[in-house]
């Protein structure tokens, strides 16, 4: 049957479900590539080894990107490691705070640290970032105080930081919308003659939204300096990526006229390199790029979710072997780029961060109720004024009553 398989479509003449049996491929016909084992850019193996950049067939692609991190220093590598560790720690703390009732909800990035830190560290301060709701690691790279991210999950605001403070837009919950905002912003950057770039994050699920397709079209037509960074974490809540596409997502770009590349999303070096390349393209006036970071959501979709209902533990186990943090740690250790002191210090820093996050959240006050009426309009609106006044009178009536 169509929806799960085509085997049930009896009257069909030839073997059902086999693509390409009618006719033969040709130059004008663009045949679908079968999605088998993902072919991806990787610079650091799961075992923590730098991938050889010899120009053989299998690794040629890596070489091209490797040059974007060719001169990376041990200090920078330790910095990436630190970013990932602190991000994971922050994320775990937030999950715990949700369990304790301090947050209403939390969307964990566990497992996606490399994709976020690698791409986030590739950005320049004047670049602009449009996140989804899970980009805590990117926020970290942008210098957004992590405690600011918690307000919306605690329910005290819908986004507690100034987007222009760090060129990091608010989290966007309506799936895919932000890719158009990013594209428009990038059009504006180009109109200004600036050489900044814009990066839009979205998920594998989001790739199905019409808005994302429209953003590809606008970005291509206007040659906008925007990088579409898709974290394919294999799941859109309970739906595996096969419910969104039957070919690898990075290939989507080709049909819109710009390059797409799949990168190992658990390899922070590869993510850094590929994103640098894509951002450079943007700065150079070469237009948009799609980066698909192939990664895994190791936790639940959010704290409200129960992944045991739709996926097996062994899947997670397999991905744990590719853990982005462990991988870099192995490399740092094997190459003597970090000593025990570094790890110990980081552990302490991590603890301190956790403590600060806990304290800040617990002290986070509820907003004043009149905040309901604030910022609905920039220039005011008579009805809001009227309702605010009525509300004030109504509130006062209790005070009066209590005062009696």
């Amino acid at each position: 049957m169509t929806v799960d398989s085509s085997a049930a479509r009896k009257p069909r003449r030839s073997a059902a479900g086999k693509a390409g049996t009618t006719g033969t491929p040709s130059t004008t016909r663009t045949a679908a590539k079968k999605s088998t084992e993902p072919e991806l850019v990787q610079l650091l193996t799961p075992e923590g080894k730098r991938v050889r950049i010899a120009k053989n067939a299998r690794n040629a692609k890596n070489a091209e990107y490797a040059r974007y991190v060719a001169d990376i220093t041990p200090e920078e590598l330790r910095g990436l490691y630190r970013d990932m560790v602190l991000t994971r720690r922050f994320d775990a703390e937030a999950t715990a705070l949700q369990r304790q009732g301090e947050l209403g909800l939390w969307a964990s990035l566990l497992g996606q640290e490399a994709a976020q830190i690698g791409s986030g560290r590739a950005t320049r301060p004047d670049d602009y970032v449009f996140p989804t709701y899970r980009e805590h690691g990117v926020a970290w790279c942008r210098g957004v105080d992590p405690t600011k991210l918690l307000g919306m999950f605690r329910g005290v605001n819908h986004g507690g930081w100034d987007p222009n403070g760090n060129n990091f837009h608010l989290y966007t919950i309506v799936i895919g919308s932000q890719t158009l905002h990013a594209t428009g912003y990038a059009m504006g950057v180009a109109m200004d003659g600036a050489d900044s770039a814009v990066i839009a994050y979205f998920g594998d699920g989001a790739s199905s939204q019409g808005d994302v397709a429209e953003s590809f079209t606008f970005a291509a037509v206007y040659n906008a300096p925007v990088v579409f960074f898709c974290q394919n974490n294999q799941w859109a809540i309970s739906e595996p990526t096969e419910k969104q596409t039957r070919v690898p997502l990075y290939q989507r770009a080709q049909g819109y006229g710009f390059p797409g590349v799949r990168v190992d999303g658990n390899d922070v070096l590869a993510c850094l390199a590929v994103t640098r390349w894509a951002l450079e393209r943007a700065r150079n006036g070469e237009g948009p790029t799609l980066v698909e970071a192939y990664t895994y959501r190791m936790g639940a979709h959010t704290t409200s979710d129960d992944p045991t209902r739709y996926r097996h533990d062994d899947e997670r186990a397999a991905w744990e072997a590719k853990d982005p943090i462990l991988r870099l740690r192995r490399y740092l250790e094997a190459s003597n780029h970090a000593d025990e002191g570094f790890f110990a210090e980081l552990e302490a820093e991590s603890e301190a961060l956790g403590k600060r996050v806990r304290e800040v959240v617990r002290a986070m006050p509820d907003p004043d109720t009149f905040a309901i009426f604030e910022n609905v309009y920039a220039d005011g609106h008579a009805l809001v004024d009227e309702e605010r006044a009525q509300f004030a009178a109504y509130q006062a009536s209790f005070a009066d009553a209590e005062g009696v």
């Binding site: 799960d4 209403g104 808005d211 309970s238 907003p367 009805l383 109504y394 209790f398």
Partner: protein
């Protein structure tokens, strides 16, 4: 409590919808359930729990993450003779599908001079009160009621949830079925062999003589509580559960208001251009000489639904309803 017969079960509202969907899937092979995460997961509120297991992936369909696609393909399925029941995951996520709903789903029957019918049900968990993040607590019913070609309903308890879903699926018209998400866990007796009220008929859920409270969906319970509280102060409030927002059962409201001569409408959606406006306008026209006071409205403010920590102040509550009752009675 009525004794449980074989046909009567006590169950939460979410479960009642689940049972109703199950019955529809069993009764008619053309019924299909579609949406994001409705399959293995059973929906984020578990309303479709177990259905894919029992009816297969071709009857309970996990769709790509694209609401316009969900509604648009459902229209095509309906043209092919299917009766799709769609889930929109949350109120705030229906808007990507709004074009398909307003320009296609609502109009295609008329456009075809009646030649095609689109029996599509769109389930939307709606309303606030569950401490959720942005876009998860809205009440957009007015945006559908204004559109000719759509029917809009909202049950307030498990029994109505069960039966109104049966009726919505049987209807040959598109029905937007708003589920009061904060009442999902409220239990009630559901008699699966009852003869249900007509889908678009309001029901008096409490009789009274001094003032009429009308509501639908999540606010019915609140109005019942308000009526109980008012009774303690010696005031007799009648409570009407509208059940349907389009059409609105003005006859039932009129009958009540001709008796009580005062009307307060309660809903979560912003008051401005909300259901209360239409009810106030038409009932004032119908009952001009009966009304002792203007129709008063209690609802959301003209502001985006606030963060969870403020929702109590944003939403109608007992005090605000009683305050409106006091004001109406003061005329």
């Amino acid at each position: 409590m009525a004794a449980e017969t074989m046909a009567t079960k006590n169950m939460p509202l979410a479960k009642a919808i689940n049972e109703s969907l199950r019955r529809a899937l069993e009764a008619d092979p053309k019924v299909v359930v579609m949406g994001e995460d409705v399959g293995k997961l059973g929906g984020v509120f578990r309303v479709t729990d177990g259905l894919q297991k029992d009816f297969g992936e071709s009857r309970v369909i996990d769709t790509p993450l694209a609401e316009s696609g969900i509604v648009g393909t459902a229209i095509g399925l309906a043209l092919r003779g299917y009766r799709p029941v769609l889930e929109i995951q949350f109120d705030g996520f229906v808007f990507p599908a709004y074009d398909q709903i307003v320009t296609q789903l609502a109009k295609m029957h008329a456009r075809s001079l009646g030649k095609v019918k689109l029996p599509v049900v769109i389930r939307i968990p709606y309303g606030g009160g569950i401490g959720a993040v942005e876009h998860h607590s809205e009440s957009p019913e007015a945006l559908f009621a204004h559109v000719p070609g759509l029917k809009v309903v909202s049950p307030s308890d498990a029994s109505d949830a069960y039966w109104m879903m049966q009726q919505a699926i049987q209807s040959d018209d598109p029905v937007i079925y708003f589920e009061p998400k904060r009442r999902y866990w409220d239990k009630a007796e559901v008699n699966t062999e009852a003869i249900p009220d007509p889908l678009h008929k309001a029901r008096v859920v409490r009789e009274g003589t001094d003032l009429t409270l009308v509501a639908y969906g999540p606010m019915v319970k609140l109005c019942q509580e308000a009526a109980a509280a008012a009774a303690e102060e010696g005031r007799s409030l009648e409570v009407l559960d509208l059940r349907s927002v389009s059409p609105l059962d003005f006859d039932s409201i009129q009958t009540s208001v001709e008796k009580t001569r005062r009307l307060v409408v309660v809903h979560e959606a912003p008051v401005f251009f909300g259901s209360g406006a239409e009810i106030a306008a038409r009932i004032t026209e119908r009952c001009f000489y009966h009304l002792e006071a203007p129709v008063l409205r209690v609802g959301g403010y003209h502001a985006p639904y606030p963060p969870a920590r403020l929702e109590e102040s944003y939403l109608p509550d007992l005090d605000r309803v009683l305050d409106a009752v006091d004001r109406a009675l003061a005329y």
